[in-house]
Symmetry: none
Subunit: 212 residues, 4 copies
């Protein structure tokens, strides 16, 4: 089916970009990984650039959708912020390779991607900043804090992805970031937060008694 091919190519692109970087990856390498001929790539993407753009869009569609869905469940502003962060971390965790490619390679690949990435980032940052505003933070700090959160999550993701042997503990790391950010913003402690959503097989690494 048409969508299967496109999907296979996108997955292959993620796989190859992750290993060779965007610039280092040739279209030939992608199609070989996808199991089709070079020309086939161009039946699904106008250019190599458009392929990466599609990946960027894909990641943020998923993040935005998850965040929107999570927020819809809550009424209180701080609750919305709290679940938003969780939703974002969850998507990063589930789509870790896609996320690593987009967050690591796209910014340096070309101003084009930077701009595209920034559009969605601004959307997310605006959401977070809005929440923080309602929580009483001044405008400029809000923006900084929102960007800080994005950078922190991205870095933690890329860091964990680089760990050898599939021992990545993205989810746990995401929880740490969330907690630290939360407290840093002076928001009210959330009792039992950490136990609420253990996701890593080993269970939540943060003990109940942790000052965290």
């Amino acid at each position: 089916m048409v969508e299967d091919r496109r999907e296979a190519l996108l997955q292959a692109a993620i796989w190859v970009f992750l290993r060779q970087g965007y610039q280092g990856a040739s279209v030939k390498a992608i199609t070989e990984q996808a199991g089709c001929a070079t020309g086939t790539f161009y039946l699904y993407f106008p250019s190599k650039d458009d392929c990466l753009s599609a990946l960027i869009d894909r990641l943020y569609e998923r993040v935005l959708a998850a965040v929107a869905a999570a927020r819809a469940q809550e009424t209180a502003v701080t609750d919305k912020l709290w679940v938003s962060m969780e939703a974002a971390v969850r998507v990063f965790d589930e789509e870790r390779q896609l996320a690593a490619v987009v967050l690591r390679d796209a910014p340096g690949a070309s101003p084009l991607f930077r701009e595209r990435l920034d559009r969605v980032r601004r959307t997310l940052a605006a959401l977070i900043a809005e929440d923080l505003g309602e929580a009483g933070m001044a405008p400029w700090e809000r923006e900084c804090a929102a960007r800080m959160l994005e950078g922190a999550l991205g870095e933690v993701l890329v860091w964990q992805m680089a760990e050898e042997g599939g021992t990545a503990r993205l989810w746990d790391a995401g929880q740490v970031v969330r907690r630290l950010f939360w407290r840093g913003c002076g928001l009210p402690a959330r009792a039992g937060a950490s136990e609420a959503s253990p996701r890593s097989p080993e269970g939540n690494v943060l003990g109940r008694d942790s000052a965290w």
Copy 2:
């Protein structure tokens, strides 16, 4: 002088990488910007890759030197951490273009750079983690927190560098990150911290009475 040439080439490389990205920049563009012939580049760098490597090294030499110098002035662990962050922000602010190139382009350019970048990052992260350990944070959280801080500072830097019209407020943004991180880690409030080192012309944007 030999060092002048090398320096001119490094500056030219920063200038060109910042605008075209690492992969998008040709050696020819760099030498033209530096005012010398293409071949001359190879008298000072074995390859284009080595040029970026030199920039990575340069940034971290400066960061590490500044951090070390700042720490030497303090005795208390929390004080060391506090001034370390300030020192890092100061270097990022002073070498903003260099920092933007290294933090934005290097990770996506090749595994080679990722590795090199990671070596120094680990050094810094270890320092921060050590401080946090003495401040009572558990080992795993410490690492996460350290990475988070690095990611946050990098993101805020790149974000501000992208702002049009030279209105970048790197220093202010760095302060916000520092404060938020500090509180997030549950470290004791530092009275009057923000007023201690106003660097942006407009003065510190965070008013004395800010909850921050």
Copy 3:
């Protein structure tokens, strides 16, 4: 019907070749213009080359047929030559797009087309040369003159086709060429020749009193 499809493809090919040139035109563009799928093209032509070959053949079949028919009406050699030229111009005028494609694109496209084109040209040139021989011109000049006539008519055609706004006056231009060639060959003036076959809507542009 089968012939309809083939005809539609040939018309589409003319349309596309005229705008993009033979090499610049893709089979896909032709089939899109013809309203069918890419593969369908190959049910009617073994290759893209054969399609242009078919157009070359088509033009010269028509020219040769018209010339033959016109000549059959006359008995005197000079009369045969005179009406031959008129017949050729008429076909070029009626099939101006086809003629423009064949005369403009085919020679440069490949030795293959040059050869094919040349075969028919030789046929026509031989006819003309024969007439000129009976009119007393030496063998070598006859050949030159015949080629000259072909080149002149082709050039005038392409020139007029390039004129903007559909103001092409192919027929008139053809008449001028015919007259000039006729006199150039030292053939006896043909009284009232120009009035005999006004074809352009505006009527013959050459007034009766013209030295021409």
Copy 4:
């Protein structure tokens, strides 16, 4: 020397275009013929297109220069026209391969070349038309006649170039065209014209007694 390389590439391009056509010729084939590497081509021409453009310009620079020089020697209008034609034929004869490439391949290669070619053609046609005007021909016929002459000379050139075995008699053929055109325009016979400039080794093929 720099100009040598460029010249070698242009000559190689003529050689290859003549045999394979413009589109059929690869840059690799040109550089191999010129004895240098593929990339070298791009040190001298921004693109393959620019190479053909340079050839077009070169041909017409030479034609225009020769025509201008010839005209400068004459005062009477008909003399100017007469020597103009001779000059053009001489250049076509001397630069026969260049001329064949430009006249045969350029028109079909792309609208770009058509336009470029047409600019110079208009210049030449205007000159001829002007002369014919002073000789009493009506405006519209003048233009037709000028184009006709261009087409005739071009066709005769390409025709002769296609002859096998280097037996091309371009100069002779050009003389025939000139004579026929001259008489066709009703211009006064030029006594002994043909004997004035025998150029082909075999001597002028047109006997003194020829009606021509």
